[in-house]
């Protein structure tokens, strides 16, 4: 056989083998299907809303996620989603420089990302990080959510490199934000440390003690040491009313107001006040989300009403989340700095009404509760005012709105209520604690004041390009 025959033979063999190897064409196929690049402001916010709604379900059913630590998890997750996408938006910027230590990788502007895949991965990873003790049913909901979005998004996205790049970005940001959260010693895994066995509440007239009927230990007595995002230790409340047992004192008058309001509701009067009290309660574990989660649910409804884009949705969730988290920290710091007693103890011990009880969180057996931490300032008031302050900054001071968070609930009065502004909602949320019997009026007023200060600090962060 001569050399030319050998060459022909080899070439034939090569062609044959290449034909078998379907994945290695001899000639490059032309790219004829250029995918349209969708920026975050071109996309709707469904994926963000779905994941934040799911997060509210998870915090509701996972033990230990009481208000301030629940708010903290909401904040970090919302921040991770925001940071993953913000640099690609027209109007928003990363706020990492506000915290000094974060190093969020930049986006390669020459390359395409699928922002929904980035977010699906980022949220899924974050929920895994921030809710590692979720029960099976909630764990399953998280997996199903990730799977459903992944299948849909990967069907729509045919560029595997874009998918790979997007997944990697979502994972990287979630990991960076989570790792940063773990450096906050008091806040990290605080869902496992609701109480401190070494904490003994100070003793003395007017000071908080565990309350009837369960005398539960103090909730998060050290939460004031948790790292905040924007509001410093100088964000405080004014001093409460001086403690006095004098029937002519302002404190006595406020205790009388709380007691009588509850008694009137128990007598079947004041239907609207009962409605307000139950509508805003969000106190009973598992029955609803937390009072902090309530404002994420309100944020979702606001966005649905306004039909906003994904970029603004991520901004709204991050800003509200951070405001709620800082509200929790500042409020708990002030609660344990001041250590003011709950109305029930004043009414029992000073006013002598030893059979009186609140109407909070009935368990069906006639048992009613009082939250297991000091009264001043009110947590509900602080959360709501902080959220209202940032929502007003985003959507305006005048915002007619109907809150449908608890529409259709039969266990309590959840019929929707309407408002003209976020501040009006926050003020009603704050005062709702008095007819429930768990707060003095001064707690609600000081909480509102503190929450608004926190919200203003969050508004000052440099969110915009």
């Amino acid at each position: 056989m001569n050399n030319s025959k050998l060459l022909i033979g080899l070439f034939a063999l090569l062609l044959f083998l290449q034909a078998c190897r379907e994945d290695a064409p001899l000639f490059e196929e032309e790219e004829d299907d250029i995918k349209e690049v969708l920026d975050p402001q071109d996309l709707d916010f469904d994926i963000a809303r779905d994941w934040m709604d799911l997060q509210l379900e998870v915090e509701r059913f996972t033990p230990g996620y009481r208000p301030p630590t629940a708010a903290r998890s909401l904040a970090y997750t919302a921040l991770a989603a925001y940071e993953a996408v913000a640099p690609a938006t027209d109007n928003f910027r990363s706020i990492q420089t506000e915290f000094g230590v974060l190093e969020i990788p930049s986006i390669d502007s020459e390359l395409r990302y699928n922002w929904e895949i980035v977010l699906n991965t980022c949220y899924s990873e974050c929920l895994g990080y921030f809710y590692p003790t979720a029960p099976t049913a909630q764990q399953s909901s998280m997996l199903q959510m990730e799977r459903a979005w992944r299948i849909q998004l990967e069907e729509e996205e045919d560029d595997l490199e874009v998918i790979e790049r997007s997944i990697n970005r979502g994972r990287a940001i979630a990991e960076i934000i989570y790792n940063w959260s773990t450096t906050d010693e008091t806040g990290h895994e605080s869902y496992l440390k609701n109480t401190d066995p070494n904490y003994s509440p100070p003793q003395g007239p007017g000071l908080w003690q565990p309350t009837y009927p369960d005398y539960a230990a103090a909730l998060f007595p050290n939460f004031g040491d948790v790292r905040t995002f924007a509001a410093g230790k100088d964000v405080k409340v004014k001093d409460p009313l001086p403690y006095s047992e004098d029937p002519g004192s302002q404190l006595y008058a406020q205790a009388l107001e709380t007691m009588n309001w509850v008694n009137e509701i128990k007598a079947g009067d004041k239907y609207e006040d009962k409605w307000i009290a139950e509508f805003w309660s969000d106190d009973c574990p598992i029955l609803t989300f937390t009072p902090a989660g309530r404002w994420i649910a309100i944020t979702s409804q606001v966005m649905e009403r306004n039909g906003i884009d994904l970029a603004k949705a991520l901004y709204s969730y991050a800003k509200v989340g951070i405001a709620l988290s800082d509200a929790g920290v500042r409020c708990w710091d002030e609660k344990y700095r001041i250590n003011y007693l709950r109305p029930i103890d004043y009414i029992h011990e000073v006013m002598g009404e030893t059979d009186w009880n609140t109407i909070m969180c009935p368990d069906g057996s006639g048992q009613y509760f009082t939250p297991n931490f000091p009264t001043y300032p009110s947590g509900h008031a602080t959360f709501s005012a902080a959220a209202a302050e940032v929502l007003s900054d985003i959507y305006g001071n005048h915002f007619p709105f109907t809150d449908r968070c608890h529409e259709g609930r039969s266990e309590f009065l959840g019929t929707p209520r309407s408002y003209q502004s976020f501040l009006e909602m926050a003020e009603e949320n704050a005062i709702s604690r008095v007819p429930l019997g768990v707060h003095f009026r001064m707690d609600s007023e000081s909480g509102t004041d503190l929450g608004r200060k926190v919200g203003r600090e969050v508004n000052k962060l440099k969110w915009h390009k």
């Binding site: 056989m1 050998l6 033979g9 080899l10 063999l13 090569l14 083998l17 078998c20 190897r21 379907e22 994945d23 290695a24 064409p25 196929e29 059913f61 033990p63 895994g128 590692p132 003790t133 979720a134 029960p135 099976t136 049913a137 764990q139 399953s140 997996l143 799977r147 299948i151 595997l160 490199e161 998918i163 790979e164 997944i167 369960d214 574990p285 598992i286 368990d363 069906g364 057996s365 006639g366 048992q367 266990e411």
Partner: protein
């Protein structure tokens, strides 16, 4: 055998090996896809197991409730599928040890199931990454599309078929 024949055989074998290597890579992708779908089904099973376990515990709880329990409290308690909340009911405090032990055990088993689910999720994520990276290495769009269709078919397989040999 002369030198020329030997050369033919060597060259032929080299090409054959290249071809086989690729087919074997495609086979791996299918194996990973099967394994991933199996994990989906296993996770669904864990969720069902947890749900059935709470149903059973709640039925036993109902039998153990005092006859004079207020209807509203009874209805609230039986809706709950969470040990932490059950412990908050006044009636629960007064109930006998065995049913409390049953609730505690159900809670522990539920957390164990949730842990298993997290382990499976990690495995599935690794498989999914491997599949995607392997697909990215396939240059021919036609082959990739065919494989993706096969993967989709696997993803749509009924769990009863996937787990029937378990």
């Amino acid at each position: 055998m002369n030198q020329m024949a030997l050369l033919y055989i060597c060259v032929g074998m080299a090409f054959l090996m290249l071809g086989c290597q690729n087919n074997s890579s495609n086979e791996h992708i299918m194996e990973w896809a099967e394994a991933s779908r199996k994990i989906d089904c296993q996770m669904d099973n864990l969720e069902e197991t947890s749900s059935e376990m709470w149903d059973k515990t709640n039925r036993e709880l109902e039998k153990a409730l005092p006859i004079d329990i207020p209807e509203f409290e009874k209805s609230n308690m039986l809706k709950v599928r969470n040990a932490d909340l059950l412990r908050m009911f006044e009636t629960y405090q007064e109930m006998e040890g065995p049913i409390k032990a049953k609730v505690d055990l159900t809670e522990k088993m539920d957390f164990a199931l949730a842990d298993s689910m997290r382990v499976l999720q990690q495995k599935q994520q690794n498989l999914s990454d491997s599949i995607r990276l392997a697909l990215m290495e396939i240059a021919a769009e036609n082959t990739r599309t065919k494989l993706q269709e096969k993967i989709k078919a696997i993803d749509n397989k009924a769990c009863s078929k996937i787990l029937q040999y378990e």
